[in-house]
């Protein structure tokens, strides 16, 4: 299942027959998808079908949950990130993540970004890096006078943008977003979506969302996930295509039912 037929070098990530297990329970089955560079790929689907599990497998965050394992491959620039010689810390450095619930560090706004840069050995001008990251996350104007305040003192939407600023401060190649706007009001959500369009120029984004309008509005490609069958309760990608195709002319009946609201 590939989104289009262009040359391979445009794809930054690829999964091959990816199965994800929680202990002996197979949560996700047989995922094959390619993530295009500088595009936004959305993963949609009903609750409990393994969207977040799949996303976490893209930067090995799933390993922090006890008992998880995978079969198959996740390629990043053609290299399997689950290969034994690959350090998961390096993977997460190059493939950043923004979480569902805003989770700034309990430190100052400045330190949230400075600490992140410091642990990766950043030796440049810290003030500049902080300002640039906050500007890119469209947060600078709102916080430039209170950089010393706690990151937790910001509103939910601001906190989430701080988390995005933190993620992009270390220049990852891919940013994974796990329902980044689900805890936010419509205005904050809109800001995050505008921000994603801006970030797309420099980064590749994979976003999990419950909100179909959001996927339709903001993404270039959409992967539709659903439980493969009722018995095993294992999720899989049933259709992956241009967002326009998914929302206007899906090939799979289940996708059509879901995006038109007849299935929930």
């Amino acid at each position: 299942m590939t989104a289009n037929n262009n040359a391979d070098r445009q794809y930054v990530m690829e999964t091959r027959d990816l199965d994800i297990y929680y202990g002996s329970f197979k949560a996700v089955t047989g995922v094959n998808m390619k993530i295009e560079r500088n595009a936004i790929t959305a993963i949609i689907g009903p609750s409990g079908c393994g969207k977040s599990t799949l996303l976490r497998a893209f930067n090995r965050m799933n390993e922090l949950y006890a008992g998880t394992s995978i079969k198959g491959q996740v390629l990043f620039d053609g290299e399997d990130i689950y290969a034994p010689q690959i350090d998961p810390v390096e993977v997460r450095y190059r493939i950043g993540m923004v979480f569902q619930k805003p989770n700034p560090f309990p430190k100052s706004i400045y330190e949230n970004i400075a600490w992140t840069a410091r642990i990766h050995g950043y030796r440049g001008k810290m003030d500049e890096l902080v300002e640039n990251s906050l500007r890119q996350a469209a947060l600078w104007d709102e916080v430039k006078d209170k950089l010393g305040q706690s990151g937790l003192s910001l509103s939910g939407g601001q906190q989430q943008r701080l988390c995005i600023a933190r993620a992009i401060s270390i220049k990852p190649e891919v940013i994974l977003m796990d329902e980044p706007a689900s805890a936010l009001d419509p205005i904050a959500t809109l800001k995050i979506e505008e921000l994603m369009q801006e970030l797309k120029k420099n980064y590749t984004i994979v976003i999990v969302t419950h909100n179909m309008q959001q996927a339709a509005r903001a993404s270039d490609y959409t992967a539709m996930m659903m439980l493969a069958d009722r018995e095993t309760r294992s999720g899989t990608v049933i259709e992956f295509d241009d967002t326009k195709v998914i929302f206007t002319n899906p090939k799979d009946k289940r996708t059509e039912d879901y995006v038109t609201g007849r299935f929930g």
Binding site: R92, R94, F99, K101, P106, S150, G151, R166, A167
Partner: protein, 413 residues
């Protein structure tokens, strides 16, 4: 409000539910009251013993010490020094002179010395605070009848002198400086051993240890160790620190052979024993605190490519620190009040010199209290009461400083 129409299958039981609520409310309040009453009774009991009338007689009549009709309280410093020189043995005199040359002592101090060493007042009877307040006349009459030579004074056993004087066998001049310093030295080594090892073990068990049978056994055993009676730790300390590690705990391998403690019954042994005793408590509390750090914070850190150690050091530990310190405060409070293990390890009951190194012999406040309460004379019970007050103050001030430290950590953000 109009009563809700009865719905099939539901009963209007709001009154019964409220009555039950009130019943539990009263029960919980009663338990709190019982606790407070017990605490007040304890404090009143201690205070009752720590103040009151004392009748005492001089072992040597001060009148016999008068020179040319001048009573000792009016004599000059030189006369008093001469008196000390002629009365005490030359060894005792030289010892006093070495502690602080007589030339440097004030008249007041020399007079005190004469009273302590030559007149040597002896307690004949003591009264508690309550009878002293309510039956002062009867007490005076009793003293006048039974001990015509005795003087009667209302004393507070807890004075600054009591805190600063070393231990002696004379109740009127005994103090707890030795015991306070012993307690502080001991607790210092307890903290030095138990805090880093306890927090380190907690970090390992929570962050690094995998969930296998060996680690589960270790975890279960740590939980059980927290409930082992303290005297057993005393026996352990005796076997390991006092006996097996004697060259270390007596300071021999450092070339510090102290004639007063050629064996391992030192401050160091006591501190390490109490350290072992509170180690499980610190580990368990630190584990709880580390476990309470939200997963979202760890995710945030790992999500930006931090290593496990960077995550633990920069986020998990600072967030868990208030909880870890709360557990440590509890553990230290327990250690400072422990008596039984120190008796086994070999606390000295009667030493009058201050501990000044890890290899000193020692006594601690609870040991001192235990020893005084076991004496038959009433005056020692008053001393014990005063020591208990000192112990409580010491405990509260140690805890207060730990609480301040904790608040500094929790106020950061």
């Amino acid at each position: 409000m109009k009563e809700k129409a009865v719905v099939q299958g539901f009963a209007n039981n709001l009154d019964a539910r409220n009555r039950r609520g009130v019943l539990w409310h009263v029960l919980f309040q009663a338990s709190t009251v019982v606790g407070i009453v017990a605490l007040i009774a304890l404090m009143l009991n201690i205070i009752n013993s720590a103040f009151g009338y004392v009748a005492y007689e001089a072992r040597v009549d001060p009148d016999t010490l008068a020179v040319d009709g001048t009573p000792i309280q009016d004599q000059s410093k030189d006369q008093l020094v001469a008196l000390i020189h002629s009365t005490l043995s030359s060894g005792a005199y030289n010892k006093l002179d070495n502690e602080k040359p007589f030339a440097d002592r004030s008249l007041e101090e020399v007079y005190q010395l004469v009273v302590e060493r030559i007149v040597r007042p002896k307690v004949v009877e003591v009264w508690n605070l309550w009878p002293s307040l309510t039956q002062a006349d009867a007490i005076r009459a009793t003293v006048a009848r039974d001990h015509p030579d005795a003087e009667l004074d209302f004393v507070s056993w807890l004075t600054t002198d009591f805190v600063t004087r070393p231990q002696t066998s004379e109740p009127l001049t005994a103090g707890v400086r030795t015991a306070i310093l012993g307690s502080l030295w001991t607790i210092l080594f307890t903290i030095l051993l138990a805090f880093p090892i306890g927090v380190g073990a907690a970090i390992y068990l929570e962050e690094y240890a995998s969930d296998n049978w060996l680690n589960r056994i270790i975890q279960t055993n740590i939980n059980n160790l927290a409930g082992v009676p303290s005297i057993i730790y005393g026996i352990l300390g005796l076997a390991i620190f006092v006996r097996a590690l004697e060259p270390l705990t007596s300071g021999k391998i450092f070339g510090l052979v102290n004639l007063t403690s050629e064996n391992g019954r030192t401050v160091l042994s006591a501190g390490l024993t109490l350290g072992l005793l509170v180690l499980p408590i610190i580990i368990i509390n630190a584990q709880e605190a580390i476990r309470a750090v939200p997963r979202s914070l760890r995710n945030a850190s790992f999500g930006v490519g931090a290593t496990k150690w960077q995550t633990v050091w920069s986020h998990v530990l600072p967030t868990a620190m208030p909880g870890i310190l709360t557990g440590t405060i509890l553990a230290i409070s327990r250690a400072i009040g422990e008596t039984a293990p120190l008796v086994v390890v070999g606390a000295s009951t009667a030493i009058s010199f201050d501990p000044n190194s890890p290899f000193s012999k020692f006594t601690t406040l609870p040991i001192q209290i235990y020893q005084w309460t076991s004496r038959p004379q009433d005056e020692f019970r008053s001393l014990a009461a005063a020591s208990i007050l000192v112990l409580l103050v010491l405990l509260l001030s140690l805890n207060a400083s730990a609480v301040l430290l904790r608040n500094r950590f929790s106020r950061r953000f």
